[in-house]
C-alpha cells in the first residue's frame, strides 16, 4: 500500500507546491532547486544504464544471439572509453601520462578527463564527433526523400501543401525575386518572396500557435491528472 501511496503523496505535495510557487515571488526559484534532486538521481542512474548495457550485450555474446558480433564492438568501445576516462590517459608531445598508475605527471590526477590531449577527449573529437556529424548529414537526404513523398498532389490538401512549399522554396532564392520583379510596387504582396513571408508569418504562425495553446492545455491537464492521482501509469500501475 505504501509503495503506491508515498510516491502519490510526494507528487501531489510537490506538484501543488510548485504550481503555487509560480505565483509567489519569494518561492520563484523553488522549481530550479527541485530539479537538483533529479540531477542527483540521474547521476546514480548512469551506473544503472551502463550496467544494463553490459548485461544485455554479455548475454547476447554468451548465448550467441543474432548479430552478437555487434555486441563485441559495443563492449570493446564501452570498456575502452571507461578505462581511458578513469585512468585519465593522455599523451602530449610524445610524453605518456597515466597519473593513476604513477606514470608521467602525477599532478595530472586533478585534471579533467576532457582536457585537450587526453585520450578520452581525443577519441571524442576524432571518432565520435565525425560519426555524429555523418549521421546528422544524412538528414539532408532524408529531407529530400520525405519531401518527394509529401509533395505528391494526391488530394486537395496535398496540392495545397505542394503549392505553399513551392512558393516558400522559390521565395527563399534569388530566382523567386527575379521572377516577380516586374510586379508593380502597389501589388508587392504578390511578389514571391513577400508571399513566402506572408505564408510563414500568417497561416503557418497561426497554426503553430494553435498547436502551442493546445500543448499548454494538455500539459496543465496531464499535470492535474498526475497531481490528483488520476494518472498512475508512471508508477507501473495501469489504472486510473
Amino acid at each position: 500500500m505504501f509503495k503506491r501511496r508515498i510516491p502519490l503523496f510526494i507528487l501531489a505535495f510537490v506538484g501543488t507546491l510548485l504550481i503555487v510557487s509560480v505565483f509567489i515571488p519569494p518561492m520563484e526559484n523553488l522549481g530550479e532547486d527541485f530539479t537538483l534532486f533529479f540531477d542527483i538521481i540521474a547521476v546514480f542512474a548512469f551506473f544503472l544504464g551502463g550496467g544494463n548495457l553490459v548485461r544485455i550485450h554479455f548475454g547476447k555474446l554468451r548465448r550467441r544471439k543474432k548479430d552478437w558480433g555487434f555486441s563485441i564492438v559495443t563492449l570493446v568501445a564501452f570498456f575502452f572509453m571507461l578505462t581511458i576516462g578513469l585512468l585519465k590517459v593522455s599523451s602530449v608531445g610524445g610524453v605518456w601520462n597515466i597519473p593513476l598508475l604513477g606514470i608521467g605527471d602525477p599532478a595530472a590526477i586533478a585534471a579533467s578527463p576532457t582536457t585537450e590531449g587526453s585520450w578520452f577527449q581525443e577519441t571524442f573529437n576524432y571518432v565520435i564527433n565525425p560519426l555524429q556529424s555523418t549521421m546528422y548529414a544524412l538528414l539532408a537526404f532524408f529531407v529530400a526523400s520525405a519531401s518527394y513523398r509529401a509533395f505528391r498532389a494526391k488530394n486537395r490538401e496535398a496540392t495545397l501543401l505542394l503549392l505553399a512549399a513551392f512558393i516558400i522554396l522559390l521565395g527563399r532564392t534569388p530566382f523567386g525575386m527575379e521572377l516577380t520583379r516586374w510586379v508593380p510596387e502597389s501589388f508587392s504582396v504578390l511578389q514571391i518572396p513577400n508571399m513566402a513571408i506572408w505564408i510563414m508569418n500568417s497561416p503557418n504562425l497561426a497554426g503553430q500557435r494553435a498547436i502551442l495553446i493546445g500543448i499548454g492545455l494538455g500539459v496543465v491537464s496531464m499535470s492535474l491528472r498526475l497531481i490528483l492521482g488520476i494518472e498512475r501509469s508512471y508508477l507501473g500501475e495501469d489504472r486510473g
Binding site: 504550481i19 509560480v22 505565483f23 509567489i24 515571488p25 519569494p26 520563484e28 530539479t35 533529479f38 538521481i41 540521474a42 542512474a45 548512469f46 544503472l48 544504464g49 544494463n52 548495457l53 544485455i56 548475454g59 548479430d67 555487434f70 565520435i128 560519426l131 555524429q132 549521421m135 544524412l138 532524408f142 529531407v143 526523400s145 520525405a146 519531401s147 513523398r149 509529401a150 503553430q208 498547436i211 502551442l212 495553446i213 493546445g214 500543448i215 492545455l217 494538455g218 500539459v219 496543465v220 491537464s221 496531464m222 499535470s223 492535474l224 491528472r225 498526475l226 490528483l228 488520476i230 494518472e231 501509469s233 508512471y234 508508477l235 507501473g236 500501475e237 495501469d238 489504472r239 486510473g240
Partner: protein, 489 residues
Amino acid sequence: MKLKLFVVSLVVLLSFSIAFAQEDTLTVPPIPPDSALLPAAVTGLVAKDTDNDHGHAITLKWQPSADDGAGRQSVAMYEVFRWVPDLMTRIPALRDTLEYLKLRTGDGWSPPEPGSRTDSIHNVFASLDDAQLEERKESLEQTISQAIRDLPAAHAAYPEDGDWQQVAVAPAGSATAADVGTKEKDTPDYLPDYSDFYYRVDAVTADPAIRTASEIVGPVQSYGQWFNKGRLAVSVFVLIFGLLTIFFVQHARRGADLYVRPMAGIEAVDDAIGRATEMGRPILYVLGLGTADMIATIASFTILGRVARRVAEYQTKLIVPAYEPVVMAVAQEVVKTAYYDAGRPDDYDEDIVFFVTSLQFAYVAAVNGLMLRELPATNVYMGKFFAESLLLAETGAVAGSIQIAGTDEIAQIPFFIVACDYTLIGEELYAASAYLGREPILLGSLKAQDWAKAGVIALAVAGLALSNLAVAYDWSWASSIVDFFRVVD
C-alpha cells in the same frame, strides 16, 4: 672659482624651480566644465520598490533631460547612482579574506601566485598556524554576519560614512531603470530589504566628465510581495481549469456517458499491434530523447503501458530501446506491470527495455540498425523528439513498418506527418493515454481539456474584438479587460 660656484648654484636652483613649477602644473585641479556645456538634469525622478518580485530591487522613473533628443542633443546616457554606506563596501573585502581563510584551512591548499590579490592577503596571514587561522576564520564569519545585520542601520545614517556608487546605466531616450540586487546574502550583489536607499540620476554627455546630477530621491525601501499580480490571469485560469477537471471527473464517476473526439492515431494502435501479431514481427516503441521529468515522456510511459498490455495479450514481441537510464528504469517497471496486468508474467523479459546510449545520433544509428535488422511491423514514436525524428521515421518507412508518432515538439511534427502513417499532434499525445484507457475518470479530464480549449478560442476572439474596439472608440474599460489577461513576468 666663486663665479663658477655661483653659476652652478644658480643652474641647480633654476632646475629645481622649473621642476617644482612642473609639479605644480600637474597637481592643479581640473578646471570645472563650462556650465554652458552641461546638459539639463533629469526631472521628476521617482524611486519605488519593484512590483511583483521577491524584493531586493528598486525601480526608478524620470523625465528625460531637456537635452536628450532635443535642445543641444548632448545626452549620451544616464547613470544611476545609489548612496552606499562604507560598511557595505567593506563586506566584499572581508569576504575575500574569509574565502582565503577557508581555502587555507581546507584540503588542497596551494600558495597563490606572487603579486596576486590572494597573495597580498596571504602575506598578512602567512605566519599563523592552523589553530590561529581557524580562530580568525570563525571571528571573520561573525563579523560579516554582524555587518550584514547592521546594513539597514548603516543606510539610515545617510549621508554619513558613505559614498555614491553607480548601480545602473540607461541609454539616451530612457526614462526608467532598475537597481536589481539579489537576496543571497553571501553575494556581492546583495541588496538588503527594508533599508533606506537614496538615488540620483546623472545625465551624461559623450565626455563622461561633462554631466549633470539630478536631485536626490529617498529614502525608499525594497520589499517582497506575497503574490505576483502580473500572473493573476494565469492563476484564475489554472483555478477554473482545475475546477472543470474535478467537475468532469466527478461527472464521469457518477456514470455519465462522455463523448470524446475520435483520434485516428490512437485507434490505429490496436490495428498495428494486430498486424504485428499476424506478421510475426516485433513492435518497436521509441520513448524519444526526453528525460523522465518531461511531461511528454510521462505521457509516453502511459501509452507504453497500454501498448505493452495489448502486446502481452497478443503475445507479440516488444522492443523498447531507451536513450536515458532513468527513462529505462521507469519504462521497465511500466512494461513489467503491463505484462502482470495482462496475466502473462512469464512472458515478461527484462531485455524488452534496454539502455542504448545518451548520445543523440549514436542512439539514432542504433535504433535505425534495429529497424533494418529486425524489420518491426510497427514503430511507435511517442515523446520528445528533435533532429532525429526524420532520421528514425524515414528509416522506418524504408523498412516498411506501420508508423505511429506523437510529439509536442512543434518543429518535429511536420517531419512525422510526412514520414509516418498516423501522427498525434501536440496535446493529442497527452490525451492519448486517457483515450486509450477509455476509463471514465481519465475521459473526464479530457473533456475538461476540450472545454478549456473552447474557452481559450472564445477569449481569443473576444480579446481581438475588444483590443480593436478599445483603440477605435477609446474605450478604457475594454483596455483594462485586455490588460487583465496580459501576463507580466
